[in-house]
């Protein structure tokens, strides 16, 4: 476990000391800012329109910032993560395999599990860095309006869980390939599959819909953004992440077998 954190620290170092890492972060921050500002303008227009329609008593504002800004912001960032997580995770294993670092790492007194966990924690910290911009956003919102913090934190937690699940997918795909580009493209494909797949068989029979539907990820994530803490959803995300990590670890074994 200690080794896992050493590897995770090294992952974060690799991210913040490379120009590419900061480019990805900056782009994510830009997209997030774009979303926040457009939602704030929409919120303002809606509030003004409602006030002008005269349906409100004085001193009351009928629109809630959680409904109009925070919930769509978090939900949209969740879908944006589909594009950004592959950029964050594609390096992790593929690059190490290509450069021969995997060999060096595994000649250290490090277990395969430490390696996988380390990479996962590293990607988690990277994700946290990505989402750290939300602290700025929330500070802005706290200054200009009065958010419902309970719902906001639960939504943010949901976004983190979603990102972690995406990370686990990206890691696994990254184990299986030797080039970062291949890893990136394949994880993007896998994530798209994961996100649109369960809803894609609208024409299918009922039982496949209900089975696939229970694996739908975005509806569960949406519950978090609504300020609904469903322990079943938390267990679902945790279970899928664990299974993906187990698959990644098994795949590292496979790599060690195949050379």
């Amino acid at each position: 476990m200690r080794q896992a954190w050493v590897i995770a620290k090294r992952e974060v170092r690799g991210l913040v000391s490379s120009p590419g890492g900061w480019l990805v972060l900056g782009t994510f921050w830009f997209v997030a800012g774009l979303l926040l500002v457009s939602l704030l303008f929409r919120f303002r227009d809606g509030t003004i329109a409602l006030a002008q329609s005269g349906q409100l008593r004085t001193g009351e504002s009928g629109l809630h910032v959680n409904d109009w800004v925070i919930r769509p912001l978090l939900y949209n960032l969740g879908t944006v993560l589909v594009l950004f997580v592959p950029l964050l995770t594609m390096r992790s294993f593929a690059e190490e395999r290509r450069s021969g670092n995997l060999e060096l790492l595994l000649s250290q007194p490090v277990r395969g599990a430490d390696l996988v966990l380390g990479k996962f924690f590293g990607s988690m910290l990277g994700l946290a860095l990505c989402l750290s911009v939300l602290v700025v956003h929330f500070a802005v919102l706290a200054a200009v309006t009065r958010p419902d913090w309970g719902a906001t934190w639960v939504g943010l937690g949901g976004l983190l869980l979603l990102g972690l699940l995406f990370n686990a997918v990206g890691l696994w795909v990254s184990v299986l390939t030797r080039s970062q580009i291949e890893a990136g493209v394949l994880s993007l494909g896998a994530l798209l599959l994961l996100v649109i797949g369960p809803g894609a068989n609208a024409e299918g029979p009922n039982w496949t819909q209900s089975i696939l539907g229970s694996f739908a990820i975005l509806p569960r994530f949406e519950d978090f953004t609504r300020g609904l803490l469903d322990l079943g959803h938390v267990a679902f995300f945790g279970g899928v992440i664990l299974i993906l990590l187990a698959a990644a670890l098994r795949s590292v074994d496979l790599v060690r077998w195949q050379g």
Binding site: F30, S61, G189, L193, Q258
Partner: protein
């Protein structure tokens, strides 16, 4: 051969991707399209080829890996993950949801919770929405809230166009409704809000099924008139018992009858019948009277005493709405209603055929509260009675066509048996047309719902629960345009620039 997995894993992913893409396409282009099937076929082929390629890898992972290498925790992780998934499925059924919003937007009010806790029978909520319906997501969310609140409430969604057989079996006749079902009783909910849904649940699961009698014997069901099969079905599905009543045989309206419908008699009622009906009303009975123009029922004097005036002349409605219906000169289209539980939130207009004016007396009778619930368009005129050549049609106006009235009745002496459920109110609905409740017109536009609501109001199947007002409070936005622009510069330019600056710095360092 050096790396099986590197070759086969893209194949597997590609296969899955093609399958999903094909599924998506066929969802868009319909099940008969040719290309999506081809794509899905390619996906299956790719999956099979990938699996074939990685057969050695799979063998290794399944059998050899543990024999060769240190066990590692992957199996434990896998088991842990599986346990969590089972737990998630269990919690999904059981519902372990914590609403953390301060406004409680994701939970039911205490009133609904209390109602659901008392449920004694299973109630099924079915969202029958088309995939592209606007309210679909809202309905799904509401359903999730209800199913989490009580184990008695089962929910399901179905697409009525895709599963027409199933929809018909469940008693769903049109798309984009929320249906509440309990046993054979089915009710549609058109407005997705907590109050309506909870009231409907209460209604459908009530085992007491009031008897609604339709008076017969005065041409109501004579040959040549449209039959009442649809009305019978409508009542049954609203949890009411339909019965035809020939009052002439009785001295009194039977006790178990709470609601009486008089549906367009062509000949006047007998005086004994009229007296029986008056007694029935005075002890808190409910009466719906549908009158046809140019006929006399004999109930008019009694109604006049309560302040309801039936004109009797036929109406010719020249308003664009009625003409656009294209259902003949006698039809009257209605899309204006008064404030009343029967009509509130009624979405679709009504169609009457051969109507007459039913209005309130200018001076209301003391103790009664009446509402004219439906009105014609502005261009309706009353035609002279047939045979009357001296008169001319009246000036065009919006004419009242239906009245709902209620008043308190004196308390009744206790009878043997259970006391009547109704409170001491008499309720009366008079509509200036009877065709809208018959098979010919019941399924046109909003007629079915309108009749259903009349029966619901009369039988008091609208439960008058008190709901706390929904917290619609919003949050203020304490910033002007300039402030928003400052935010724009901050989060959209400054923050990303910071990151790009750091990117440049590390790039420069590497040089």
């Amino acid at each position: 051969m050096k790396s099986d997995s590197a070759k086969s894993s893209p194949l597997l992913l590609l296969g899955l991707f093609l399958l999903a893409a094909g599924g998506l396409l066929s969802g868009v282009s319909g099940p008969r399209a040719y290309l999506p099937r081809l794509i899905m076929l390619a996906g299956v082929a790719s999956l099979l080829w990938g699996a074939f390629n990685s057969a050695a890898s799979i063998r290794f992972l399944l059998f050899r890996a543990r024999a060769v290498a240190e066990p590692g925790p992957s199996l434990n992780w896998l088991l842990g993950g599986a346990v969590l998934l089972v737990l998630a499925a269990g919690l999904g059924i059981r519902g372990a949801r914590i609403d953390v919003t301060s406004r409680g937007v994701n939970s039911l009010s205490a009133t609904s919770k209390g109602v659901l806790k008392e449920l004694s029978r299973d109630v099924e909520l079915i969202a029958a929405y088309r995939d592209n319906a606007m309210e679909r997501d809202q309905a799904t969310e509401v359903l999730a809230v209800y199913s989490a609140a009580s184990r008695r409430v089962k929910t399901r969604s179905l697409e009525p166009d895709r599963e027409p057989e199933e929809a018909r079996r469940l008693g769903i006749n049109r798309p984009n409704v929320l249906v509440v079902r309990c046993g054979e009783v089915v009710e549609e909910v058109t407005e997705i809000d907590e109050e309506t849904i909870t009231q409907t649940i209460l209604r459908v699961q009530d085992p007491n099924r009031p008897v609604v009698a339709v008076l017969d014997g005065h041409g109501e069901t004579s040959d040549g008139r449209s039959t009442l099969a649809s009305l019978r079905g409508l009542l049954a599905r609203s949890g009411l018992v339909f019965r035809l009543l020939r009052l002439g045989d009785f001295v009194e309206v039977p006790r178990e009858i709470r609601t009486l419908i008089v549906l367009g008699p062509t000949s006047p009622l007998l005086p004994g019948e009229i007296e029986a009906i008056e007694r029935f009303i005075n002890r808190g009975g409910r009466l719906a009277l549908f009158v046809e123009p140019e006929t006399t029922t004999g109930l008019e004097p009694m109604l006049a005493r309560q302040g309801i005036l039936i004109d009797g002349r036929r109406i010719l409605d020249e308003s664009p709405l009625s003409r656009s219906l294209g259902l003949g000169p006698e039809s009257v289209g209605i899309n204006r209603w008064g404030e009343h539980p029967i009509t509130s939130g009624l979405g679709v207009g009504l169609v009457l055929s051969g109507a007459t004016r039913v209005g309130l007396a200018p001076q209301p009778v003391f103790g009664t509260s009446g509402t004219d619930i439906i009105r014609s368009g502005n261009d309706a005129r009353l035609l002279p009675r047939s045979g009357d050549t001296a008169s001319v049609p009246s000036a065009p106006a919006a004419l009242p066509l239906g009245i709902a009235l209620e008043w308190e009745t004196p308390p009744q002496e206790a009878e043997a048996g259970p006391a009547p459920r109704e409170k001491g109110y008499a309720r009366l609905v008079v509509i200036g047309d009877s065709d809208l409740a018959r098979d010919s017109h019941l399924d046109l536009y909003g007629n079915r719902e309108f009749i259903g609501r009349i029966c619901g109001w009369l039988t008091e199947r609208t439960y008058l629960l008190r709901f706390p007002p929904v917290d619609r409070s919003g949050t203020p936005l304490r910033v002007g345009l300039a402030g928003l622009q400052a935010i724009f510069y901050g989060v959209e330019i400054l923050v990303p620039l910071l990151a790009f600056g750091l990117a440049f710095r590390s790039w420069a360092r590497r040089r």
